[in-house]
Chain length 389, copies 2
Amino acid sequence: MASPDPSTTATATVMAGIPATNLSLYRAIRFKVGDPAALLVLPMPGGGVERLLIIRDIEMERAKRHARADAVRCPADFEPAGGLSGDRETATAQSVAQCLVSRGVRSVRADRTLPLIFAHFIEQAGIALQCDTELGVLERRSKDSQELDWLREAQRATEGAMQLACETVARSKASADGVLVHDGAPLTAERLRAIIDIHLLTNGYENPESIVACGAQGADCHDHGHGQLRTGEPVIVDIFPRNRKTLYNGDMTRTVVHGAIHPEVARMHAAVVAAKRDAIAAVRPGVTGQSVHEATLAALARHGYAAGQPAQQGVAVISHGTGHGIGLDVHEPPLLAMKGPALVPGDVLTVEPGLYALGIGGIRVEDMVAVSATGCENFNTLQESLVWA
Amino acid sequence: MASPDPSTTATATVMAGIPATNLSLYRAIRFKVGDPAALLVLPMPGGGVERLLIIRDIEMERAKRHARADAVRCPADFEPAGGLSGDRETATAQSVAQCLVSRGVRSVRADRTLPLIFAHFIEQAGIALQCDTELGVLERRSKDSQELDWLREAQRATEGAMQLACETVARSKASADGVLVHDGAPLTAERLRAIIDIHLLTNGYENPESIVACGAQGADCHDHGHGQLRTGEPVIVDIFPRNRKTLYNGDMTRTVVHGAIHPEVARMHAAVVAAKRDAIAAVRPGVTGQSVHEATLAALARHGYAAGQPAQQGVAVISHGTGHGIGLDVHEPPLLAMKGPALVPGDVLTVEPGLYALGIGGIRVEDMVAVSATGCENFNTLQESLVWA
C-alpha cells in the first residue's frame, strides 16, 4: 500500500490529559506533571513529524529540559478568537484545537485514553477525530530496555519488602491462644502493612494497601485482610509498590505460615508452585495469554484442583486468571486468562496462580516475568516456600 | 421550560474510567478500584433514573456493599453479539454500549473526563454522544459536608507535618560554614522530605514530593529544592499529602528561616502575610477568582511589589496566581487568578501568595479555606511567622 501524502491528509495524532495520571501520555513524554498537557504529533510540510508539547506556562522550562518533545508551548501561545477559558483544562483543550487549525490539520487520530473534552474542542473546530482503540496499547506492552530496568528495580525493592514481611510473621511468637506477637504486641494485618509501607517509603516507593490476608480471610482473593495474624494459618502477602521517580510498579505474592502447616495447605501450596512453574515455562512470544492460563489450569488439575468460586468448606479452587501485564499500571494489558492475546517481546507479566478454600483460606505465589525473544526472564529470586523462620 | 419526556428522549448519562485515577467517577460512586468501571444513569420507563455500575466481576460484591449505585453488574452481563474483548478496558466499553442499546437509550451525555474508548463504542452502537464540558465541574466544586470534613482532616494532618518540618529546620545547629546540622548530619532538602513523608505515612497519608527550597532555589516557585539547608536563608516548605482512605488532599506552605533574618526577607514576608489576609477577606460566594487575586496584587502593591517573572537580582515579584481549588485533585477548578470564575459555597481553595527574587529566594505562605454562605472558613490554625525556634 502506498503511504498517504501528508500534504493532502494532514492527519495529526493527539494525546492529552494530566501526565501524572494519564500514564500513556506520561510514557510518551516521560515527564511528570499534575496539570493538563497535550502531545501533538504534527505532520511537517516536507514530510516527517514534529512532536509539540502544550503544557502549563510555569512548567515549560522544566519540560524543555526533560520532556520527550521537539517543541514546548503553553496554551496562551494558541489563543482562539474568543479567548481562552479561565479553567486550566478547558484552556488546554481549546489551545490544542487552535494549534491544529493553525497547522492546517484536518483529521486527528487519538488513543483510547483521550479525555472527551479534548475530542469536543477538536471536533468543534471542524476537525475529524478518529479513536484508534489499539493505538498505544502494543507500544505500552513492548517495554524498552529502560522500562525493563525500572521494572526489575521495582521488583527487587518489592522482594526486599516481602522478605521483611514474611520473616516478621515467621519469627513472631505465638501466644497461648494462637495470636502472633511481635515486639510485645499482637501482630495484625494493619501493623504488618505499616512495616511494609515504611520499608518501601525509605527505599523510594509509595505502596497502595498491601494484601495481608490470614486464614479464612484469604479465601476471598481480593480481601485485603484485617486484624490479628495467627499461628498455623496461611497468610497471603501481596505487595505492589510504585517507584516514586520512575512510576513503574512491582507486584509479587508469597504465602507464609507461622508454626505447624496443615496438610491440605501444604498440598495446595505444592499445586500452586507447580502451576506457577508450568505457566512460566509456557511464556514466550506468540503464545496466547489464554494458553499460559491453560498451563496453570492443567497443572492444578493434575493436583486435583479445578477452577470456580470457593463454595464448599475445605474444597480449594482457583478463582481468577493466571496474571496480567504490568508497567506504569499495576494492571494493564495483556491478561493471562481466557481470551488473553498473543504475547510479544517486552510484555512484562505477573504469573500468580492461587487456590482458595472456604474455612482454610488462600495460597497464592506470584512472580514477575518479561517476555524475551525466545522465552522469558523471571525478575524474582526470592524463595517461595511457606516456611520463613 | 417543560421537562423533556424520558420515553422519547431516552438520554442517559455515562461516566467511566478507572475510579482510582478518574476522580470524578470515584466521587460519583465513592468506591475505589484499580480496574475499569462505568456508571450509567439510566432513564426509567416510569420516570426517575437508575444508577447502574458496571465493574469487574470480582469487585461486584464489595461494590454492592460500598458503592453509591442502585445496581451493580459486570461486563459479562452485557455481552454483544460478537462477544467481549479479552482486554478489560475494551470489554468494559463494549458492555456499556450493549447495556445502553438493551435499555433503548438513543443519546448519551458524558462529562469531560470520559476516556475516548467509551465514546467510541457508544457511537459505534448508533447512540448519539454529547460532551457536556461543564457536567460535574460545579458538582465537584461544591463540596458536601463529608468532603469538607475530609479536607479539614487532611489539612490538620498537613499542619502536623508542617510544624515538624519547620521546627526541625529552626532547631538544627549551624556549622561554621552555615550548613544546618540535624542529628549529627547535614540537614538536606532530601532528609527533611523523608522526615515529612514518614510522619505523614504513619498518619495515613501518601505524600508526593514536598517542596523544600532553600535560599536562591526558592526564586523558581516550582523548584522542589535539593541539597543542604543553610542558616540565614528562607526555606519554603510546601506539603500536599493525600489521605489514603478518603483520597482528599491537604495543601499548605510556610517559610522558615534558621537564625538571622535578612531585612528584605522580613519585608517580603510581611507583604505576603498581608496579601494572604486581604485575599482571604475577599473570599465569599459570587466574588470571582480574579477579584480575589486582585486583592492579593493590591496588597502586594501597597508593600511595593508587582507581578512578573523574577528577572532582576534582589527585586521580588509574584509569579503565579493566588491559589486554586482543591479536593480529590490538588489542583482543580476554580483558579484564583485572572479569568477565575465566580465562587460558590463549598468551593475549597488554597490562598498562597508568594514573592520571589533572584539571589534571595522565595517567600510563600499558604492556607486552605472553604467558601461558606457568607464568607469563608480557614482550615489552618498554624502560625505563619518565619521564626519556629
